[in-house]
Amino acid sequence: MTLAVPTSLDDAVRLLDEHPDAMLLAGGTDAMVEINDGHRRPASLVIALNRVSDLRSWRHDADAGTVTIGAGITYTELMEPPLATLLPALAEASRTVGSPQIRNAGTLGGNLGTCSPAGDGLPVLSALDAKVRIVSADGERDASIHDVMLGVKRTSLEPNELIAEITLPVRSGWQGYAKVGVRNAMVIAVASACLAVDETNQSVAIALGSVGPTVIRCTEAEQHLASAVDWDTGVVDHDAIGRVGELVSAASSPITDHRSTAEYRRHAVGVLARRLARRAFTINGVAA
């Protein structure tokens, strides 16, 4: 096994093109676990990405109202201002990831590269309709996040492609993330949800994690909530929130496994959606 440590994106892409079976290594917090557990054999070539400076930077385009994050940005970086102020839901999701050590090493690109249904960054990317820039020796392409995540640990990346950066809109309006696990920290999500309000367009996005083979967007619930909100006051009726919870539960398609039951996951994700909506808006009616 050889370890390549490219320092430019071009070099990384060229190496990957020459060795399509090579393994990309970012923070290694998924990849090394898989190797240690014997689920993955180290490929003949491992390409370490952490010295590729292009992947480790981010930029804010105030005119376009977007933030573009290099695939190698860590959770620790996402949790701190200015990124945390620009992308609050991503910061909240990052705070739920693992432990300080994992957050120092783990990257958003690696989260997407793994594409676990429980990846905590992914519901946020989905709720914000992220754009993913994918590069290869053939050039680069932009793909919608919804087209990149295909299923359980399955992306639409070709073997010679890598994720370079992810672009997200800076939205006005509340956004947040909540995650249920059986422990108070360092735990894989049993159910999670991101809710992001777009005040400009008077719309709401809700995306769910761990309740389907990949992240689920809840269009019906989103529309129900958006139409129930009084956008001038930010007030929404208590019953409408209850209905949002039901629609979210209905949109989920969880399984029963050793971590939880489908029934609990469906229930929990509905509760999370209600509570996130409660944080986003002022509730009219029964006290929360």
């Binding site: 696990g181 108070n184 050793h258 509570r275």
Partner: protein, 770 residues
């Protein structure tokens, strides 16, 4: 955490009652301590174990040829290569070194290999071809007890049945409460994985094994039998042990490592991964316990009826002793004139179960404490009050007819726990400096699932009794040697230091008894008699007793020498500080000086008084001694999501005499973490006999953020039966903390208008909210 205790009078540094720093503490904190998994020898080979993927199957054929052909593979061995006894076991020798003809659980060893590196060893395992005829597994302990199923082992499907009848078992009371309780399978989850290195003697007629274990001499006996050696041909040295909790009482990789090393005449090292560790050691027994309590209208117990079923898994291990611990503690730390208990330990094709901290008492306690809460509710009294009304006292009798002759300060444990303050922070804690909520203070923690308004708080109680030392006519003695010369005491014992801190208190004992400052500890190995196991909360009492006795014997020799030199009756001499003094005269000589040039060398075996077997009615003085503890848990619950945050645990523990208060507190905090784990998250999940969460991603242990502050009061009433007055403190903290946490969850839910039975641990979110 806060420890609330009486200020101690001045204690000479490093002696009994002081809390000197552990000799291995700094190295452990800095990461330089050598655990057994760090052992290495030049030119050593790496062993690996092939394990069964089936819970029950006949082995039709094993083809080793492809494995042998791999470059770098030096040995491939199976049951055919075991020269001695083919099976081992702590009580019954029913567990094969390697499976012969049948496999009985997922993970059962079938073959082992040694290769030049771990990766080659792994590939060799992949190359071994085993042909199985898959059999229907026996997974229901009730079916094993009922007897309809074909025996899955020549010893049958029932490991032990024991009945206890006491007083008038048909007695009834005005108030009757009943319930069936379930306890899931918990893992000891020590951090230092199983590892050993074996050095064959030249000529391969003996072997030296360095291993992390709880009991060197028991390992030695079992290994020697399997190797076909005399015991002394197997020399055991304790490797650095990273926790044990019962999981190192049984043989795991010991025999395999020795067999490979002897076969190859080269050192061989074996080390388990976390996944393999889950398969390679025994676990806490899952149990189903039915209980019916009868009490008078005031809630005073009249009769307890109970039926215990422990799932022992595929091999006997210590199941029969776990069973007896469980059923003989059925009444809990409460006086009760009548009782009838039936207990079964069944054999199934699940993972084998055996010792884990609390050893049967944990399962019993979850059942009887849940019952005491039901009784309190039925009688309309507070949970603490019902326990005070029934609290056992010194001299009360167990259902076995055995009087509890130890100090039994059950009432003090409860009252002192009640006296500890409740948390002063409201639900969710005080807001952060920017006015926002600290998510870590709410159930759901980092997941930010709740706001303070979603949460209810509850309080729950748990009180328990635990027997100390081994029971049922077992002489689990301990041996210690003390040499004294030139003011330096040198101690030797085979007591396994597994992290509990015996090496610290052994030196404290020597300093106190002999008036020395300098104490050296010899290597922990089998070049001295047995110390018994580091389990059953017994080493402070047993090995502490042996060290104490050896030091006292050495002190007598010292007094004789001083007496002879100064023409004084040795009886007049005593140690004061670091001096020998004449109680009837002026003589005062520093021990350093008095012991200069002497060679004092004393070895003592310490035995506890004999215990008895139980008769067919479960009567007999089967236990050695008892310790007690009370726990009060404060828990915040999110009733809608079923998530829990334990906010505080208060405890008062009967410790006899705290030889090292800091060590005692360490045991209390650690044990509570383990009890909390069983209450709300820790469980090995097997589906159709296959483990599904044999890793730390999915076998969840409490983290720092799940562990609440602990308030502890040490009840120090020196026990006259205990050497140094000190009771074992290791197990009690994890026993009643579990039911206390669950009771607090039930209490919180009642305040939210929910009456959830929560008759199973660990409590899962869905048990609360669905």
């Amino acid at each position: 955490m806060t420890v609330i205790e009486e200020p101690r009078t001045t204690i000479r540094s490093g002696t009994i009652g002081d809390s000197p720093v552990r000799p291995d503490g700094v190295a452990k904190v800095q990461g330089t301590y050598a655990f057994s998994s760090d052992l290495h020898a030049d030119g050593c080979l790496f062993g690996a174990t092939l394990r069964s993927p089936h819970p029950h199957a006949r082995i039709v054929a094993i083809d080793l040829s492809a494995a042998w052909k791999l470059n770098g593979v030096e040995a491939v061995i199976t049951a055919e290569d075991v020269p001695g006894q083919l099976t081992y076991g702590l009580i019954a020798q029913d567990q094969p070194v390697f499976a012969v003809d049948v496999v009985r659980y997922v993970g059962e060893p079938i073959a082992a290999v040694a290769a030049i590196d771990p990766e080659t060893a792994r590939r060799a395992l992949d190359a071994i071809e085993v042909t199985y005829e898959v059999l229907t597994p026996l997974l229901d302990p009730e079916a094993a007890i009922a007897g309809g199923h074909d025996p899955i082992h020549p010893d049958g499907n029932l490991i032990r049945h024991q009945h206890i009848v006491h007083g008038d078992p048909s007695a009834t009371g005005a108030v009757v409460v009943e319930g069936t309780y379930e306890i899931g399978m918990q893992d000891q989850a020590f951090l230092g994985l199983e590892a050993a290195i074996a050095y064959p003697d030249p000529g391969a007629d003996g072997v030296e094994l360095h291993v992390a274990t709880q009991w060197l001499h028991e390992d030695q006996k079992q290994i020697a039998a399997c190797l076909g050696f005399a015991d002394e041909k197997v020399r055991m040295v304790l490797g650095g042990v990273g926790g044990a909790f019962g999981a190192r009482e049984d043989i795991s990789l010991q025999v395999h490592t020795c067999l490979l090393a002897l076969r190859l005449a080269r050192p061989v090292r074996m080390a388990y991964s976390r996944a393999e560790s889950f398969l390679g050691h025994v676990h806490r027994h899952p149990a189903t316990i039915w209980m019916r309590h009868h009490a008078d209208a005031d809630g005073r117990l009249v009769n307890v009826e109970a039926r215990f079923v422990f799932d022992g898994g595929a091999y006997a291990s210590t199941s029969s002793a776990v069973l007896v611990n469980g059923i003989t503690m059925a009444q809990g730390p409460y006086a009760c004139p009548n009782g009838m208990v039936d207990g079964y330990a069944a054999r199934t094709n699940h993972l084998p179960c055996g010792a884990m901290r609390g050893f049967g008492a944990v399962q019993a306690c979850f059942a009887y404490e849940s019952q005491m809460d039901k009784l309190a509710a039925a009688c309309g009294v507070e949970p603490a009050e019902i326990r005070l009304r029934n609290a056992m006292k010194t001299g009360d009798t167990l259902f076995t007819g055995q009087p509890v002759l130890n100090v039994a300060p059950v009432e003090d444990c409860i009252r002192e726990t009640m006296a500890l303050p409740l948390p002063d922070e409201p639900v969710g804690g005080t807001p952060l400096s920017d006015g926002s909520q600290d998510a870590m203070k709410l159930p759901g923690g980092a997941g930010r699932t709740a706001d303070a308004g979603d949460i209810v708080r509850g309080i729950g109680w748990g009180v328990s009794i635990k027997n100390l030392m081994y029971s049922e006519n077992f002489d689990d003695y301990s041996t210690a040697r003390c040499r004294l010369a030139d003011g330096v005491a040198t101690l030797k014992f085979a007591t396994a230091e597994v992290g509990q801190g015996f090496i610290t208190i052994a030196a404290q004992i020597a300093r106190s008894i002999l008036g020395v400052d300098e104490v050296e500890l010899d290597q922990i190995d089998t070049h001295i008699g047995s110390a018994g196991s580091t389990s059953a909360s017994r080493q402070t009492w047993m090995s502490g007793g042996a060290v104490d006795a050896a030091c006292r014997a050495a002190r007598e020799r010292l007094f004789e020498a001083v007496g002879t030199a100064h023409g004084i009756e040795p009886i007049r001499l005593m140690i004061e500080g670091t001096d020998v003094i004449d109680t009837a005269g002026d003589l005062r000589i520093p021990v350093v000086e008095a012991s200069s040039g002497l060679t004092i060398d004393e070895t003592i075996e310490y035995h506890h008084p004999p215990t008895e077997d139980l008769d067919e009615n479960g009567q007999g003085n089967c236990h050695t001694a008892f310790a007690f503890v009370a726990h009060r848990a404060v828990v915040d619950v999110d009733p809608e999501l079923g998530l829990v945050k334990v906010v505080q645990i208060a405890t008062a523990q009967d410790v006899g005499n705290a030889l090292n208060p800091l060590s005692v507190v360490g045991q209390i905090e650690g044990g509570i973490a383990q009890g909390l784990g069983l209450a709300v998250m820790e469980e090995i999940i097997q589906i159709d006999g296959v483990i599904r969460n044999g890793n730390f991603t999915d076998y969840l242990l409490p983290t720092f953020l799940d562990m609440p502050p602990v308030l502890a009061t040490l009840i120090e009433q020196p026990d006259p039966h205990a050497p140094l007055g000190a009771k074992g403190v290791g197990e009690p903290p994890c026993i009643s903390s579990t039911p206390a946490v669950v009771a607090a969850i039930r209490d919180a839910l009642r305040q939210a208008g929910i009456d959830a039975p929560l008759d199973r641990v660990p409590v899962r979110p869905a048990d609360i909210c669905l």
